[in-house]
Structures are given as structure tokens and as C-alpha cells.
């Protein structure tokens, strides 16, 4: 095969991987941006919350008897659904509790105090993860059908693969993001969120229970992190207690890239970052991944400090 053809193959393959990875990053980035938009806190524990989300899924699947893929005929959809709902509930609750216990008492303190508190919560999560699943990487059961649409459905022989796993991740992540956008745009709670984001004092005078709205925001962020946990586990088939640091950093970068506080920006930033990272890894090698990602961040911040879609406002 001529060299040029292989390059296009590789490029397309990288694009598919990038979009799928972008979907996880976007889901986690939304958790950063929602919270920042409403109380201007960078919730540094969010990446580790996502890590605990993968653990919650792993434990649920293990308890349901699907710890290993050996000898399983067909995908146990009900177990996946149960794992996802449980992880969503778990991460959502944990995030709400963290806000209640560690951030709310500091709401009127200088900006640095809740930030440090968030780093503290991050340490707690990491150590909780260490106690829960131990220090070594854990295998996450490979429960999705092994099916590649490109080669098996269309019979094309290329490097490009669009597998059932990619479809699964995108088919779950994109509707979740649309649902989030819909809730913020159209519901009473969504309007209240936008109101609190702009001016919480005024919102309280309009009869909005500000604390409740903030709790709801943390709940939404946690739910998305829990869902991302299941997707990550099933896609990569492994997880480890340090997963949150890297994922969190990338997602935070994506949120800043898109314009922190801006919901569509976080989704866009996630996909841009996923794509860039996949292209860099494919053509330059894995050691250049972080270099590429953070160079992009620096460039964007130099030329457009508010991020791609940011105007400082949250809607």
C-alpha cells in the first residue's frame, strides 16, 4: 500500500479514537464547568470522583457475577444499566455531600480556601480508591460485543475501526449532553441555575433557594462523572486509583479550552482535546500527548484568554 494511503488511514483511525475519547473528557469537563459556572470554584476532586465512578461500576458488575468476560454469552445489558445507574447515584450523592461538608461552609471565605478544600477532598477520594481496589491496576470486564462496523459490516480492510464500543460510548455520551443542555435551557431548575450563576444574591431575592440550586448542580456533575466511569471502564477494560489525576487534568484543560463556565464550551473542548490527543499519539507517539495538549491550552489562553466559547458568562 502506498505511503499516502496509509497516512489517511491512520488519520481517520485517530479521528475515531479521538472522538470517542473526547466524549469521556467532555462528560468530566462538564462537571468542572457546571460547578465553576455557578460558584466559581475549580472542583479539583472531580477527576477522582470519576475514578470512584469506574470503581462503583466494577464493584457492581463483580457483585452481579460479571467480573470476567469468560464464558458469558451475550452482553448483560441489565447489569450494565444497573452499574451505570448505581455509579451515577453514587457519584452524584458523593459530589453533593462534598459540597455540603467541604465547600459550603467556606462559601464566603476567600477564593483560595474552598480550592484547597477541594484538593483535600481529592486526596480523600484517591485514598478511598486505594483502599477500595488496591494499588495495582484492575481489569474491567470486557462485556460489550466485539464488533467492528468498518471491517465486519462493510468488509473494508483498513486501519480505521469503528467498533461497537465506540458506538456505545457516543450513543450514551451525546444524549446525556443533549439532556443536560435541555435541562439547563428549558426547566425551572435550569433557569434557576442560570440565575444563580449570574448573580446569586439577586436570585435569592427572586425566591430561588440558592443552596438547593448549588446542590442540584453538584448532583448533575456527579451523575455525568458516574456515567463516564462506566463508559471508560467498558472501553478501556482497566482502571486504577490514580486514574482521576490524569483524567481530571485533561478534563479541566478541556473546560478551560472551551471557556470555563460555558456548558457548550466544555463539550466542544472535550472533543477538540480528544482529537488532538489522538492525532498527536498516532503521528508523534504517546510521549508527546501531554506536550500537544498543554501547548494547545497555552496557545488558546494567550490568544483568547476566555476560551473558545467563553465570554465570562455561563450560558
Amino acid at each position: 500500500m502506498p505511503c499516502g494511503g496509509a497516512r489517511i488511514d491512520l488519520f481517520l483511525a485517530a479521528i475515531v479514537i479521538g472522538i470517542t475519547n473526547g466524549a469521556f473528557i467532555a462528560l468530566i469537563a462538564l462537571g468542572y464547568t457546571l460547578v465553576y459556572g455557578i460558584i466559581e470554584l475549580i472542583n479539583f476532586s472531580h477527576g477522582d470522583l470519576f475514578m470512584l465512578g469506574t470503581f462503583a461500576c466494577l464493584t457492581t458488575l463483580t457483585l452481579l457475577g460479571f467480573a470476567t468476560e469468560v464464558g458469558i454469552g451475550g452482553t448483560p445489558w441489565w447489569a450494565l444499566l444497573a452499574a451505570m445507574l448505581l455509579a451515577m447515584a453514587f457519584c452524584g450523592t458523593l459530589n453533593v455531600l462534598a459540597e455540603r461538608i467541604a465547600y459550603r461552609p467556606l462559601r464566603k471565605a476567600p477564593r483560595l480556601a474552598p480550592l484547597i478544600s477541594a484538593i483535600g477532598v481529592s486526596f480523600i477520594y484517591v485514598n478511598l480508591g486505594l483502599l477500595w481496589q488496591g494499588p495495582t491496576p484492575r481489569r474491567f470486564p470486557d462485556l460489550l460485543p466485539q464488533y467492528d462496523f468498518v471491517s465486519q459490516m462493510f468488509g473494508l480492510e483498513t486501519l480505521v475501526r469503528f467498533t461497537f464500543k465506540d458506538l456505545f460510548v457516543l450513543g450514551l455520551a451525546i444524549p446525556l449532553m443533549l439532556a443536560l443542555a435541555w435541562v439547563i435551557r428549558n426547566t425551572r431548575m435550569g433557569k434557576a441555575m442560570r440565575a444563580v450563576a449570574q448573580d446569586s444574591e439577586m436570585a435569592s431575592q427572586m425566591g430561588i433557594d440558592v443552596n438547593r440550586v448549588i446542590s442540584f448542580t453538584f448532583l448533575l456533575g456527579g451523575i455525568l462523572a458516574g456515567a463516564a466511569g462506566l463508559m471508560y471502564g467498558l472501553y478501556n477494560n482497566n482502571t486504577v486509583f490514580t486514574l482521576g489525576f490524569d483524567a481530571g487534568l485533561k478534563a479541566f484543560t478541556a473546560a478551560v479550552l472551551g471557556g470555563i463556565g460555558n456548558v457548550s464550551g466544555a463539550a466542544l473542548g472535550g472533543f477538540v482535546l480528544g482529537l488532538l490527543s489522538a492525532i498527536v499519539i498516532t503521528f508523534l507517539g504517546g510521549q508527546w500527548d501531554s506536550v500537544g495538549v498543554f501547548s494547545l491550552l497555552v496557545i488558546i489562553l494567550v490568544f483568547k484568554p476566555t476560551g473558545l466559547l467563553g465570554q465570562g458568562a455561563s450560558d
Binding site: R188, M189, Q198, D199, S204, Q205, M206, G207, A313
Partner: protein, 259 residues
């Protein structure tokens, strides 16, 4: 007429600065009452104590027979007190109708889960709120501006929109913080007439804060004057206008001596 609001020796101190000092204040139900005083007299602070943004350092505020001082602001709104701000504070990036719908928040009962599940209850409520919001926009004179983003409205319309938003909370008592600030005499006259209409047609009790004495004289049944955080005079506009301490507070000692 019974009193809808009663403040008993309300004091608000910020560190060593006493902004409001032992103020007793009542508002009869259905009245239009004004609070005036020179700059820095403590009017807005007193207002914020009533609205729940500040907790009084000492003293209590009763509304409709219940103690409201110390309650969170959204609770106070739910009891029936709504307000506008001295410097317009709208949700700049929302449309006019959305702003008013947010104002109705405290009267809505459906939960986020109703919304996510698209229960008929939530949809009906949302639709009714929108209809009400449009009616209110028309009532304040913003017919046809429903879909305009708040920040793109002219100044006078923004004031009107703020009023519509406050009315959406279905208040029994409306607190207006300098509603005619920045308006020309014509607009001021129209706004004053509108405030009277609010009381006459909707039975809403009104507390006005004004910097400018002339504005309140026409519409208030009672005027209270604050200076340096203390109440220095109270009574009908004509009585207050002739009060020596009031003239002194506004114009200085020399002026009162000269008159």
C-alpha cells in the same frame, strides 16, 4: 388598617459602623409608604434587612404576624415580599419573558425530576407561567418585547422589566429601591402613576425608597426619614416637609437656621 410589616428596633452594624440604629417602622396594609433620607442614611441597608439579604444585628422584623428576620431570602420572597434594585439587576443574557419567569420561581412547585420526566404537571405549570409572564410584561407596558434579551432593552424598559419580574413573585409587599432613578420628569411621572395603579388595582402594599423628596410627596401616605441610621421624622408628606430636622438633614444646619 392592620400593619402588614413591623420592624422593632432594628439595628444593623457592619463591624464598628452602625448603618441602621434602633429603627421602629411599620407599614399599614394597602398603603404606599416611603423611606427617604440623604445619601448614606441607611435606607438601602434597612431595605436589605427587610428583604433578608442582611440579618439584623439586633431587633426583629415581622411580616403578616410572622417573624421573618433571620430567614433566608428565598423564604421571605415566598411569604410575599418582592423587590427591585437601585442599580438595575436583571438576568442580562435571558430574554424579557425568561426574566419574568424566573421571578415566578417561588410560586412553582414541580421538582427537577418532574421536568426530566416531562410529567404533564410540569409542562402545564411551565406553560401557565409563561402565559402569566407575558401578561405581566403587557401590564408594565412591554408588550411585544417578550423575546428581547434583557441587556438590549433601553434603560426605562429595563426598569419596567425589573418591576414585572418582582410582580411575578405575587408579592403582598413590594419594595422599590429608587424606582425613578435616572429617569426624566416625564418618565418619573409615568412611573409614579404606575406605582399608584399597582396598589389600587392589585392591592399591593408598597414601600418606596427615594433619594429625591419631590417624587414621594405625591404618592406616599406616610413618609419616614432616616439620617445617619436613625429615624428623625415620620408622618404625612406635608408634615415631614416642614420638619426642621429633615430640612437640616437635607440642606445642612445653615439652611434650617436661615429659614
Amino acid at each position: 388598617m392592620s400593619d402588614i410589616l413591623e420592624a422593632r428596633s432594628v439595628t444593623k452594624a457592619f463591624g464598628g459602623l452602625v448603618a441602621v440604629d434602633e429603627v421602629d417602622f411599620t407599614i399599614p396594609e394597602g398603603a404606599i409608604v416611603s423611606l427617604i433620607g440623604p445619601n448614606g442614611a441607611g435606607k438601602t441597608t434597612f431595605f436589605n434587612v427587610i428583604a433578608g439579604l442582611y440579618k439584623p444585628t439586633r431587633g426583629t422584623v415581622h411580616f403578616g404576624g410572622k417573624v421573618i428576620s433571620g430567614l433566608p431570602p428565598h423564604q421571605i420572597t415566598r411569604y410575599g415580599i418582592a423587590r427591585t434594585f437601585q442599580n438595575i439587576r436583571l438576568f442580562q443574557n435571558m430574554t424579557a419573558v425568561e426574566n419574568v419567569m424566573v421571578g415566578h420561581h417561588s410560586r412553582m412547585t414541580s421538582s427537577p425530576f418532574d421536568a426530566i420526566l416531562r410529567l404533564p404537571r410540569e409542562r402545564t405549570e411551565e406553560r401557565e407561567t409563561e402565559v402569566k409572564a407575558r401578561e405581566l410584561l403587557e401590564y408594565v407596558g412591554l408588550k411585544g418585547r417578550d423575546g428581547v434579551t434583557a441587556k438590549n432593552l433601553p434603560y426605562g424598559d429595563q426598569r419596567r422589566l425589573e418591576l414585572a419580574r418582582a410582580l411575578a413573585a405575587e408579592p403582598k409587599l413590594l419594595l422599590l429601591d429608587e424606582p425613578t432613578a435616572g429617569m426624566d420628569p416625564n418618565e418619573t411621572a409615568r412611573m409614579t402613576a404606575f406605582i399608584r395603579r399597582l396598589r389600587d388595582e392589585r392591592g399591593i402594599t408598597v414601600l418606596l425608597i427615594e433619594h429625591d423628596m419631590k417624587v414621594v410627596m405625591g404618592i406616599s401616605e406616610r413618609v419616614t426619614v432616616l439620617d445617619h441610621g436613625t429615624k428623625i421624622a415620620e408622618g404625612t408628606p406635608t408634615v415631614v416637609q416642614r420638619d426642621e430636622r429633615v430640612i437640616e438633614a437635607y440642606l445642612g444646619r445653615a439652611a434650617s437656621a436661615a429659614s
